[in-house]
């Protein structure tokens, strides 16, 4: 995923922001709720 992020995020700041979001709240917030 991290390696393919460039397909989605085309801006370096966006990528930093996304990584910060994931580091803060985890990837689970972006994924569908289980069940």
């Amino acid at each position: 995923m991290a390696e393919t992020l460039g397909c989605v995020l085309k801006d370096v700041d966006d990528m930093k922001r996304f990584r910060a979001e994931v580091a803060k709240a985890g990837l689970g917030t972006f994924l569908p709720a289980a069940g």
Binding site: A2, T4, C7, D11, L31, P32
Partner: protein, 274 residues
């Protein structure tokens, strides 16, 4: 007889081998998609290679390998440098919606040449046997045109018999979690029931187009990708990813045989078959 170390990274990079695993994972879909791909990750620092840098820039910016530098130069195939304006696409759309047929080359404006054309089979909205336009940048040019094309491709995905043996899922099946996730997205963004409905429709369109374009991806990964992208768009980004980016990502994940996006381990998780 050469005395060089066969595993010397410098030598392998000179021969356009990629020695860094994360970079190789990025290079593969970039070469496959023939598109530039932004890569950020740990790399060798320029100052480590004895170059003169300028402060923070030199510290932060890794020097990409030769293959990645070449991949950056790859551009989507375009036709004879022509440009497509919104007015052209609007007239195409009007003509297609009023006549039920996609405009032929003779009736189009000479500058309105699609960036990429594909032959579609079957009678989809009167497009039988005709070339239909698919531009990876249509979302940046004209939102209405993008919506129209997504409608067309959603129809293609649902009606095309080739989709029916795609991982054994129903041609127009909605992902089971789609509705609940759309409601969650709508609630998170402060919207009501109408927002939820529009979110569902948008996700449905995105799923349909990714189903049409990315035959290597499974229905589960397509649903996850669509939902992930919908959530990602809630984040304040300088450049909000569009449907084109979704399709690129789905193709990249399919090329890496990634079945799921999950938190455990390195994500996406690779399939057992791979």
């Amino acid at each position: 007889m050469r005395e060089d170390d066969p595993e010397d990274p410098e030598m392998m990079e000179a021969a356009e081998y990629v020695t860094d695993a994360p970079v190789a994972t990025s290079v593969h879909p970039a070469m496959r998609l023939r598109k530039p791909l932004l890569h950020r990750g740990p790399g060798r620092r320029r100052e480590d290679r004895g170059r003169q840098g300028d402060g923070a820039h030199a510290r932060d910016e890794p020097d990409p390998p030769a293959v990645l530098r070449r991949a950056r130069r790859l551009q989507p195939r375009s036709t004879s440098g022509t440009t497509r304006s919104s007015s052209c696409t609007s007239s195409w759309r009007r003509q297609a919606t009023t006549t039920g047929r996609w405009p032929t080359r003779s009736t189009r404006s000479s500058r309105a040449v699609p960036a990429r054309a594909a032959r579609c089979s079957g009678d989809h909205a009167g497009l039988a046997g005709r070339r239909c336009c698919w531009s990876t940048r249509c979302d940046r040019a004209d939102e209405e045109f993008e919506a129209f094309m997504l409608e067309v491709f959603s129809g293609l995905a649902g009606d095309d018999p080739r989709d029916r043996h795609d991982q054994g899922d129903a041609p127009a099946a909605r992902h089971p979690d789609l509705e609940s996730h759309a409601r969650a997205v709508a609630t998170r963004s402060g919207g009501g029931a109408s927002t939820s409905g529009s979110t569902i429709r948008r996700l449905d369109k995105e799923l349909g187009s990714s189903r049409a374009r990315c035959r290597g991806s499974t229905s589960g990964s397509r649903g996850e990708i669509a939902q992930f992208m919908e959530t990602l768009r809630q984040v304040r980004l300088a450049k909000v990813p569009g449907v084109a980016e979704t399709l690129d990502w789905a193709q990249a994940l399919a090329s890496l045989h990634a079945d799921h996006i999950d938190e455990g381990g390195s994500w996406p998780r690779r399939s057992a078959a791979c």
